[in-house]
């Protein structure tokens, strides 16, 4: 075999085999993809992992953080109702790198919120955030996260108020912390308080997922408020005219409404014959408690995550 022939043969073999190998890798990925979740059922304890990582725990923490986010994102996409591994993954991440603040922020929201928006495990969320506070005494925002869980998921407004107060005392804390503390103490369950809290959380988050979540909550509060006002206007119209309004134009003519009402996403509300106001498409308006047309399922979050 001359040298030139050998070179050609080797080149062809090399490239074909490499291409074949890459194709096989794709196939491998596909059949392993599901198995991956199973494997993570056997997560080692964070302490052991930290010791095993030979000092590279920061890197390992980042890897686990990525996995946690990926895990949540994947399941969320599939509208899962259970996020079994979310807490273990976040817990390991926190143990590997206790100063990775975003772990606690993420956990405070997505561990505590009810499925499918979160794991529905507010107690675990509290545990996680409390660890974060212990390890990072200067991180006043974590008190806000704790207060959020206590207020919105556990409905313990006294505890929430105390959390905001603790956080407010840390040097560097923003003034709204004390405002929040007061609001929780006196107007715990009210929408205005929730609105204030979500606005603050929206401002203070850097993570895209957390920002999106806060925005969704604010939108939901807006919708709830809108529906309430609109249905009140409808009731007023009925009181005045002893008739059901057929559409919003009538309310506008009656001076009860200034313009055609639309939801925060710009879609007009619909008025039903029995006087209820509905959102047109609840599937991209999570967290709303009013305005869901009858027979429709509770909201599912859009893919913009």
């Amino acid at each position: 075999m001359t040298r030139r022939v050998l070179t050609s043969v080797l080149s062809v073999v090399a490239i074909c085999c490499l291409a074949g190998a890459m194709a096989t890798a794709v196939a491998l990925d596909r059949i392993r993809g599901d198995g991956l979740k199973e494997e993570e059922l056997y997560l080692p304890s964070g302490a052991v992992l930290k010791r095993l990582s030979l000092g590279y725990n920061g890197l390992l923490a980042d890897i686990y953080w990525t996995r946690a986010v990926q895990y949540f994102g994947d399941l969320h996409h599939e509208k899962a109702m259970r996020y079994r591994l979310l807490y273990p993954l976040l817990d390991i991440t926190a143990q590997l790198d206790p100063h990775l603040i975003v772990t606690y922020e993420f956990g405070s929201i997505f561990l505590s919120q009810a499925p499918p928006e979160g794991a529905g495990e507010p107690q675990n969320a509290v545990k996680l955030v409390e660890r974060g506070i212990r390890e990072n005494p200067k991180a006043w925002r974590l008190w806000a996260d704790l207060g959020y869980i206590q207020a919105m998921e556990l409905h313990d407004y006294k505890a929430a108020s105390k959390s905001f107060q603790m956080g407010a005392q840390i040097p560097g804390a923003r003034p709204w912390m004390s405002v929040m503390a007061a609001a929780m103490a006196e107007h715990g369950g009210e929408p205005a308080t929730a609105h204030y809290l979500w606005t603050r959380l929206l401002e203070n988050s850097e993570d895209t997922m957390l920002k999106q979540n806060a925005a969704n909550h604010l939108r939901a509060l807006q919708v709830d408020d809108d529906i309430q006002r609109l249905e009140a206007a409808v009731a007023e119209y009925r009181r005045r005219t002893s008739q059901q309004p057929q559409n919003f134009s009538q309310l506008i003519s009656a001076g009860l409404l200034r313009e055609m009402p639309a939801d925060p996403l710009g879609r007009p509300y619909t008025l039903s014959p029995d006087g209820r106001v509905y959102v047109q498409n609840p599937s991209d308006m999570p967290f709303i408690t009013r305005g869901i047309p009858p027979g429709m399922k509770p909201a599912i979050v859009p893919q913009t995550f």
Binding site: R3, L6, T7, L10, S11, V13, A14, I15, C17, L18, G20, A21, M22, T24, A25, V26, A27, L28, D29, I31, R32, G35, L36, E39, Y42, I63, T66, R67, Q70
Partner: protein, 258 residues
């Protein structure tokens, strides 16, 4: 032609075995397995898991280290020390040399793994008192580890064919690390926009997938390995090794020796 590859392989095997480094590593692995037994005694009910995890991980890591350091030495060191001259002045084709070295080292690693595996099964018997059907899957895990060695040896030879001993070792080790985290690389790719996503994903498929060949924790829990995975992994290791060796032969064929 085949005879020469055989002679080169045999000679490589002999050199490796007589090189005392190998003996030290075997001893080390035996010590590790002994440690596993001790650890297992502290936590009842999971001794089997601990022994399997620790034992297989040790076999895997030590084998990879041997594959890298000796693999790199097979060509790069021979070029530096010029032991290669008297071999290549004979009717030995350069690609025969590479292929012979490959078989020699992988054979060494298989023998090495065999003895370590004996130690592991002995430790397992000691700890669990008996063998279960689940232990058969250990053989699959060991087979996958051997496939990892094939990949790593081929890559060490590839880097060795154009680089100095030190740089070859660094490259080989780096590729091993990246290949171990191939899954994470895919995850990162998912989070990137457009072109970056495509490039990073492509890189993730280019890099040798050591993660797929690692079924240690599954086997530790006595879980079966599906036949499809065994078939695909075998195919993957075969194709990738052939590709790497072919590139190594191509590069080496054109190399001006010091």
């Amino acid at each position: 032609m085949n005879a020469r590859i055989g002679w080169i392989a045999f000679n490589t095997f002999r050199e490796a075995v007589r090189d005392r480094v190998l003996y030290n590593l075997i001893a080390f692995a035996l010590i590790m397995t002994a440690a596993a037994v001790l650890v297992g005694q502290i936590s009842i009910q999971i001794e089997r898991i601990v022994v399997v995890n620790l034992g297989l991980t040790a076999i895997s890591i030590f084998g990879i280290i041997i594959a890298i350091f000796i693999g790199v030495g097979l060509v790069a060191k021979e070029i530096e020390k010029r032991t290669l001259y008297t071999v290549l002045s004979r009717p030995v084709r350069r690609w025969e040399f590479i292929v012979g070295k490959f078989f020699g080292l992988t054979w060494t690693l298989v023998v090495n793994t065999f003895f370590m595996a004996l130690g592991l099964f002995a430790a397992l018997l000691y700890v669990a008192g008996q063998y279960t059907r689940a232990d058969l899957w250990l053989l699959v895990a060991l087979y996958f580890i051997v496939l990892q060695f094939f990949l790593m040896t081929a890559l060490a030879l590839l880097f060795s064919s154009f680089s100095t001993p030190i740089m070859s070792s660094v490259f080989a080790f780096a590729v091993f690390l990246i290949g171990t985290f191939a899954d994470e690389l895919h995850d990162v790719a998912q989070m990137l926009p457009g072109v970056s996503k495509f490039l990073v994903n492509g890189l993730a498929y280019l890099v040798p997938n050591f993660a797929a060949l690692n079924v240690i924790s599954q086997v530790a829990h006595g879980e079966p390995i599906e036949p499809r995975l065994i078939a695909l992994n075998s195919l993957y290791a075969l194709l990738y090794s052939v590709a790497a060796i072919s590139f190594a032969a191509l590069i080496f064929d054109r190399r001006n020796l010091k």
